[in-house]
């Protein structure tokens, strides 16, 4: 990881934790940028349907349509126009933030390449949908933008040499122009919705909508903005006069100053280079990256329970007809092209229990680099090497941090690809081996590198999801910390757990309500 990337990732973590302080982790808007962008798109589409019903697609009527809305005495027109415009602006801003955040987190690599690649056309579609909407108002901003865009397009060797000629004088334009632009303005969002479906196709349990609290507050904010800072048309489009200084919508019309500054050809080159760079990012490999083998199914130990299918965050596991003579009707099958090698499926497998007899235990689904037998052996070895009193075992997520620094004479650290790779039975097993307490440490809450890990861990420990932690497990001796890269947080959690187990006397009490998953 380069210094710049490390700095930017730290900035992202800082932003995430700052928002976590103001919002709850699960309602942190910084974690729902894509869903918020989608919400804005839906708002724009819905407000656009109403606006279309009120729009006059003629040269003489287009400008008046905008004026009618902004001058509506009931202020409903102002609200409608504001929601449509500010929703579109917010959509672009949120989309860009979503792109930057996912890029910083390296979410263009591995199985996420598909979502990354299919997200790039969305930017272009959104931009086209937005800029054509600004033309429909046919004010001074519109004539400037449509001419500048035509001039920019003319720089391409497409034979559209005289596109800008259509806007030279008022006489050269007819009503068909507005019908055509309306067609594009409506068609692009439809394409956008279809492309978004493809964008999330390989993500299971996708969060399309933001949490309700965020939805309500975001819509309220946009409505308030629409009423307090109304969207206003400039003067009517005038082909005979150019404004020296012009108010433009920088979310979509940024391209015009860019073309003026660079030249049309250079702006195209820049756009092409940026698009290509984004498209090629999935091919980027860092030296630190090590290839991870996909999960592997062992049919002899797979009973076809389909828990791995339910828990896989990328839909890489499916149930298929059995290939052996087992009495179970189905068995799991892993699509290695979709597998992120997170190991969450192992954590979901009922056969991945260390309590099974035999040295070479094999789970129904295994991570080749960390089989369950190896994990058990490592646990036994590290527990055996501990010398201090009140031994603590830390199961740390590799994606969050290097938790090995927590290891000492009384603390053993085992590293997993994801916290949810750990079957709950391992917690009991560690305590059976002599651990006074067990800590699970992972990515920040709602920020799991593999999307769903923290959720599955919580639900399994609280007995809400299979495989459940047994009801008789000593929950007082279990701590979960979503510390991310914050080692102070993780270290404090170890201290807290050790102090708690020190306080515990006599037989372990069962207090489910005291389980700490924060």
């Amino acid at each position: 990881m380069t210094t710049v990337t490390r700095f930017l990732r730290s900035a992202d973590e800082l932003a995430t934790s700052t928002f976590d302080r103001a919002f709850e982790a699960a309602h942190n808007p910084w974690r729902h940028l894509g869903a918020l962008a989608f919400l804005c798109l839906v708002l724009v589409v819905l407000s656009g349907i109403i606006a279309y019903a009120l729009y006059d697609t003629s040269v003489s009527g287009a400008y008046q349509s905008g004026l009618r809305l902004q001058n509506d005495p009931s202020r409903l027109g102002r609200l409608l126009r504001g929601l449509h415009r500010y929703g579109a602006d917010a959509c672009m801003l949120l989309t860009l933030l979503h792109l930057v955040r996912e890029g910083l987190r390296g979410h263009f690599r591995g199985v996420r390449w598909f979502s990354w690649l299919t997200g790039i056309p969305l930017l272009w579609l959104l931009w086209i949908a937005g800029i054509t909407g600004l033309w429909l108002l046919w004010d001074e901003r519109a004539i400037f933008s449509v001419t500048a865009t035509a001039e920019w397009l003319q720089a391409l060797p497409l034979g559209a040499d005289l596109l800008a000629r259509n806007f030279l004088t008022a006489d050269t334009l007819n009503d068909r122009f507005f019908s055509l632009i309306m067609f594009v303005h409506i068609g692009m969002p439809l394409l956008l919705l279809a492309a978004m479906w493809v964008h999330v196709l390989r993500v299971s349990r996708v969060r399309i909508w933001p949490p309700r609290s965020l939805t309500r507050a975001s819509l309220g904010m946009l409505a308030l903005l629409a009423l307090l800072v109304p969207v206003l048309s400039l003067g009517p489009a005038d082909t005979g006069h150019v404004l020296q200084r012009l108010s433009i919508d920088w979310f979509y019309q940024f391209v015009h100053p860019l073309v003026d500054r660079l030249s049309a050809q250079s702006a195209w080159l820049l756009a092409a280079v940026l698009t290509l760079t984004l498209a090629l990012l999935p091919l980027l490999r860092t030296r630190e990256e090590r290839p991870r083998a996909a999960a592997r199914v062992d049919p002899a130990n797979c009973n076809g329970c389909s828990r791995c299918v339910a828990d896989c965050p990328f839909g890489a596991v499916t149930m298929v007809a059995r290939t052996d003579a087992s009495r179970h009707p189905a068995q799991a099958q892993v699509d290695s092209a979709l597998c992120a090698a997170c190991g969450i499926c192992v954590g979901a497998c009922p056969s991945a229990t260390p309590f099974r007899r035999g040295e070479a235990i094999v789970s129904g689904i295994e991570m080749p680099q960390t089989p369950v037998a190896t994990l058990r052996r490592e646990l036994q070895r590290k527990m055996g090497a501990l010398t201090g009193a009140h031994k603590i075992v830390v199961f740390g997520c590799r994606q969050a941090a290097d938790f090995d620094v927590l290891a000492d004479a009384a603390t053993a650290v085992l590293t997993l690809e994801c916290a949810a790779m750990l079957p709950p039975s391992f917690l009991e097993y560690a305590m059976r081996m002599g651990a006074s307490g067990v800590l699970i440490a992972g990515c920040r809450e709602s920020d799991c590198e593999f999307r769903l890990g923290d959720r599955w861990v919580k639900e399994r420990l609280l007995g809400q999801r299979e495989p459940r932690l047994r009801a008789s497990a000593p929950l007082d001796r279990i701590e979960v910390v979503w510390s991310g890269r914050d080692m102070l947080d993780a270290s404090a959690a170890v201290t807290k757990l050790r102090s708690r187990v020190l306080d515990l006397t006599g037989p372990d009490a069962h207090h489910p309500e005291r389980i700490n998953t924060k």
């Binding site: 302080r21 030279l168 019309q253």
Partner: protein, 172 residues
Amino acid sequence: MSSPLPAPLRYLLQALAYAAFAAVVAYFSSSPLYRQLGDHEAVLKLSFSHSGQLKFACRERSAQELAKVEPNMRNKMDCPRERAAVLVELDMDGKPLYRVSTAPLGLRKDGAATVYRRLAIPAGAHQFNARLADGPDGVINYSRSISLDLAPGQVLIIDFLTGSGGFVFTHS
């Protein structure tokens, strides 16, 4: 581990976050103003689509030439489709402002030559002279002059329409 903030403070921070986002959206949706033209500048747009003259004259094919082609292809006259490039020169106040020679469009170079150029010029009184050559010899065969007083921001359009006798100057 940071302790949770009291609810009123959290709500205040949330409100501030929404307000900051709204402020960014509202501001950049119309600001800052973009300066597309200097305070004392006008705009000149030179734009036309004009087919130059045929580059080569028709000639009669010889009997030997006709014998080489299929009977249905035996056209007596050979008229090459290629057209001449169109040369445009534009002077302002006696000084050259713009000059371009445009090749005809099309794979066989038999289409129209097109020109579109937007220029920022100082506002005020000017004399313009536009000249065009569309023959294969490159000799100027169209010329027109005009004196105008352009206000700041005013747009002057120079078109070329053969039916109107050549250059057409349009301004509001």
